[in-house]
Amino acid sequence: MRSDPQGPARRLVIHSIGPDPRAESVRSGAKSLLLPDLGAVQVAQIVWCSTPLADDERCRLTDFLVDPLLQTAQWGWVEPLGQTVEVAYLPGVTDSEAREVQRAALILGIEVGEVATGRLYEVQVPVAPDALDSLVRRLLANPVVERWSVSGPVLPPLGTRGAVAPTVERFVLGDQAALATLNLDRAMALDPEELLAVRDYFAREARTPTDVELEMIAQTWSEHCAHKTFRARLLDESGVEFRPLLQRIRDTTDQIASPHVVSAFVGNAGIVTYDGVTTLALKCETHNHPSAVEPFGGANTGVGGVIRDILGAAHDPIVCTDILCFGPLNLAPALLPAGSLHPRRIHDGVISGVADYGNKIGLPTIAGAVLYDEGYVANPLVFAGCIGRSTLDAPVLSGPHTGDSVIVMGGRTGRDGIRGATFSSLAMDATTGEVAGASVQIGDPLTERLVMEALRECVGMYSAITDCGAGGLSSAVGEMAEGIGATCELDRVPLKYHGLAPWEIWLSESQERMVLAARDPEPIRKVCERFGIDSAVIGTFTGSGRIVVTSGDAVVCDLDTSFLHDGRPQRTMVFRRPLRSQGGPSKASVPVPLAETLLLLLAHPNICSRSSVVHRYDHEIGGATVVRPLTGHRNEGHSDGTVWIDPRADEGFAVGIGVNPWYGLADPMEMGRLVVDEAIRNAVASGADPSRVTLLDNFSWGDPRDPEVLGQLWATVEGMCEASNAFGAPFVSGKDSLNNAWTGTDGVRTSIPPTLVVTAVAAVHADHVVTSDLKESGNALVLLGRTESAFGGSHVNLLLGTGGGAVPRADEFAPARYLRLHEAMSTGLVRSCHDCSEGGLAVTVAEMCIAGGFGAHIDVLPTDDAITAWFSESSGRLVVEVRRGDLERFLDLMEIDALVIGEVTADPVLRMAGGIPVPLANLAAAWSGGTS
């Protein structure tokens, strides 16, 4: 039958000729999940179209889609030889491939109608039904965005989108119990006091709220959008009141009064300048919950979202960063909490998602980190950062002004990503993957690329701009309309398909959209048209102070913006001060074989080579990445900071990352200090100027309702602000992702390790750039800083399974040390430099050897205790390579805490005082063969 979607006129299956990498990844993935060996696996693409094709049309489409050297084509459904699984997207999920097939068909003059694409898996070895089901759910498909069929054709999502538009619902707000039920039913995640405030508001307005209004309030007041915890009144257990956390951070930045800050904690991103001409917009976001349930899509849209933050700060995005935390990749499947994806799958999906978006949009991913800990099994962390560029003399955005149009540009709106803000503000449980399905989606970097290019040409045409992120239009227009008010007509919003309820259009988090305000929308429309992206005037900023939304003739939302933004009762939260870590060295002081311990540390998942991840990201595009994440004689050593300098300029910036949740578990206040130090140290090690540094803070935390968890947060903020002050490096933007907690099927609620990520962005001159690889035999190696015996949170403890003891203390002399080191770098005295972090001095020197292809002979130790000397992670330390002839000048410059510990050798062996010599090849093998 010609109209059969699986028939030869409407279904094309494309097989690869020769080994298919996707098939290999299925096979190895099944192995890592301890599923039976699948034997030969085949993966094919499926293309469906809604219009039946004639023979010649099929030929021409085949010629385009199928390269005879690489692929074979098969029209229609064919009875398979082995078992098959077919996977198709759910209706409404972005299918970019289908869109390009339609575009090609248009050029080829073939009427294809609607198009959908999917995947076909063929397994030759018979697999038991339950094992097959497990394979599909864990590896082949994700019920959040896809559906599948075993041993038969899957139904493509064609022609299923034309449902009748649901209408607006109204709600009677009853007593507290009824409010609580409503709160739960609509996943609003509001506090009881907040629900009462909503009820009182509508009582004052003398009417019942619509679903559009309730949803808009819930999104605006969500933890994700309103940062309720960071703005809360804080009391310790004795009732002493403390500043809200956000205020604490802002006060620190104000106190530092850095000349480099243009704007901090305002709008979408922090804005800084280091040369008084160029401005940089800095932002880092989290996308944790979406990445837990749909790793590829979650990470993908996380990158897309933070790039839009930069666009929303009216800057042109130039680089991306990513910091990822996963559960152990070798986790036994039996230990996996119900409803969770295996860390291996999350890891692979997240990295593919980050790579896909960054590479395709054409931004280099220049810096990042990957961490593994059991605390992240059910709740991985994905921090995505972006930096953009503009100039101080760019047009001032003073709007929106009364009478300006509300313009939405970029992607179309669909039923995707509904209630993302509230989803991310709720803890997860075993059913989250199913119920939160609509909150996740696949990104479309192509459209965002076009938005980015179009916006470069729109400079000067608009008075205000913001991105559509969590909360969609409700949040974007709601924020812009604060104090001024706006009227919007939902019928004018460009939709992907019909059948959306008014609240869905208003709340949808469909990706790749921006909202602009402009007196004259016509020039913007023309630019968008030229770039082939949608734009529409959907309303007007009115000056009424109310946000009014209409659908057809009906007013579906009419809220006072002052209630929306200021009507939320401030939370009061109680915290318990965490105990400071203390005590002398723990069991790490027990003698361990030096060489063997070093090799085990080098192979540790948190220390070993990141090569397999880094090469997946394009770090070269733009030609400005002069210190890459990988460096050295084979471009495989680890850099501390990375450096970006425009090819047409002599000065750029370095990016350093600090993160250490193991300190957070032991001593959150010290983590705050140490992580700031680490981020700055990484940037300085690459040549950055320590007097021109600004910082971003990102918190991923557990449930702040738990006074202990909140206490950890308070302590971390205290420590972080102290360090910010000590370094004169202000925070300019931040983001908190709370409720990273998990309720297992046993009802036990677990929070992730307290995780603070600090990103340091610092000015660097092209002539001062330094890398971590050893350069020349005979040069002296100098250890900077003080080595102390503190092993709390250290990797030698993690390795030996020992714990306790104080974490290293922040070094008060570090700021002065970095300034002197920078002076040495500026005068060319430093040949290489690497910071001491996870694994301590032994790992630092080994990494410098691996990166440079040299050996080293270390014969002077900072302390007599060998374990402390080699494996302590004392803060503020670096190892520096200096020519013999420059040594005296260097040591004079450093004044104190500089110890010559040995030298670089041509002989490729690491000789450590008190240990057996280790050949460089063994170091490299351990480091590159680690379990990541």
Binding site: L65, L69, A104, I107, R449, F531, I621, T631
Partner: protein
Amino acid sequence: MERGHIVNAPTALVVGAPGTNRDADVMLALELAGADCRRVTPGELGADPTPLESSQLLVLAGGFSYGDNTGAGRLFGLEIDSLAGDSIRRFISHGRPVLGICNGFQALVRAGLLPGAPGAIALGHNESGSFDCRWVRIQPVSARSVWTRGLVEDIDCPIAHGEGRFTCSTATLAALEQSDSIAFRYAGSNPNGSAGAVAGICDPSGVVLGLMPHPENHVLQRQNPQAARGERGGLGLALFRAGVDHARSC
């Protein structure tokens, strides 16, 4: 002499489809090599061939045209061929140089502007199975190509692609070698499993070059990852200088 260069600056037309993203990089390289640049889309080229007629050099830049959603460079190639194929063939017949880098190479193959294509040569998924960004060394080997015949040293530059494995039959490879149509080979390791370690090929006239690596990302010594080690690398700028110099006489 310097002055003459400026007066004689040839115009390079850089074609980018939606999703092309290394256009700025290649324009910097062309400018450093002495060309004036102008950027157009395949649609603009199809609607008005004048900019092409008044240019001396044509470049298809790298990126992810149309997201590479139907295979790398396929839709870009289809557009180029259907919208501007005839005027580009005329351009080539006048001996004017054409360059396709990465996605632009893939598009040139699909548009049938390189020998044997499409159907006889293709760029398949990397042997590793994933996108790969790393520095490679490529050796210019063709005396036929106007882009490579004057080059005196290997070029160090990055690759950044998922579908860069040069694929053809042994007979086709032999024929390409026979006709001196292999423009570049990977020197040292073959990063993607390309047949014959082929990194780039040229057409029989020697004016059309397609290659996977990105010489436009190594036009300054400081872009070389080994610069911090005090080493100098083979600049990709030499390739652009060769093309621009040839374009001056067109």
